[in-house]
Subunit: 144 residues, 2 copies
DNA sequence: TTAATTAAAGTCAAAAATAGTCAAAGAGGG
DNA sequence: CCCTCTTTGACTATTTTTGACTTTAATTAA
């Protein structure tokens, strides 16, 4: 599985966030660019395409001396807006896995279900299915 | 019956999928076209005619730098009768559990999903959802 | 304190790298 | 000769990579 530069940077950042333990990191754009031998705007590109609110992240930054980019993984999960998309539900599953409310196998299986649904169902049905899954997982995890 | 180029490419891809051991491969359309000395759209043609959901495959792709086409083989069960009800899917789950293709936790969780669906969705949506689950489980179990 | 300098990060659009679409032309089998 | 499936290629769409130029903040010099 060959990966593009953007993919590698994305992975790198995600690992940093995981390791941080706080769901939040601060990086220096130019430093990261240096690490990957690319132009700084490449980092901006990765952040703006892969760490969006849709994907479950919030970013802040500051220019000038000692500038930084802060990326925070948001917790929001299943509330408010009743339209759930595939990325949101995947983020939800990621969270459950991380909190060990489901194991690796269950996680993998559910990802298959979500992917199949995303592939084979119309948007409205997808939404219903995702609602059902969220609902069922709520019951399931609280029954443990 | 002489084998067409399309047939050869189809076979080639199927062998790759077999050898992958994971029921899934990623190829670069242009690279494959190069291998067979044909135009890239020939590859698209093969994929869209021989690797459909009907045939038991799902495909995803990405354009741009390091783009790819990912083909995943799914495992279809009895596609003839396309109406599945709650009892049938539960029987299916029981079977998977008995054959230890899924564990107790996964079983329990899926039952929650099925029950939630049975309670919260109209018949037609239920059916679609169950199809998706069957499909996803086929993929999942064949990936173990 | 203010102005200049330096050190970041942001913007935007062009260029490059892929994949997709669609319709016309070609090739076999009935 | 027709009909269907295959092959091609021109054109489109998407994603990544790059770089010139802009904006903002901190630091230093006057």
């Amino acid at each position: 599985m060959r990966r593009s530069l953007a993919d590698k940077i994305e992975q790198y950042i995600k690992v940093l966030i995981e390791k941080s333990g706080a769901g939040q990191i601060e990086i220096q754009r130019s430093e990261l660019a240096e690490t990957f031998s690319c132009v700084p705007s490449q980092v901006t590109y990765v952040i703006s395409t892969r760490f969006t609110q849709e994907e479950g992240y919030v970013t802040e930054s500051r220019r000038g001396g000692n500038g930084f980019v802060r990326i925070t993984r948001t917790q929001w999960i299943n509330k408010v807006d009743n339209s759930i998309n595939r990325n949101q539900i995947k983020a939800y599953l990621d969270d459950l896995l991380k909190r060990q409310l489901i194991g690796n196998q269950e996680y993998t299986m559910l990802v298959y279900v979500v992917e199949s649904a995303a592939q084979g169902l119309a948007a409205e049905q997808q939404n219903q299915l995702f609602q059902v899954i969220i609902n069922a997982l709520g019951k399931y995890t609280s029954s443990l």
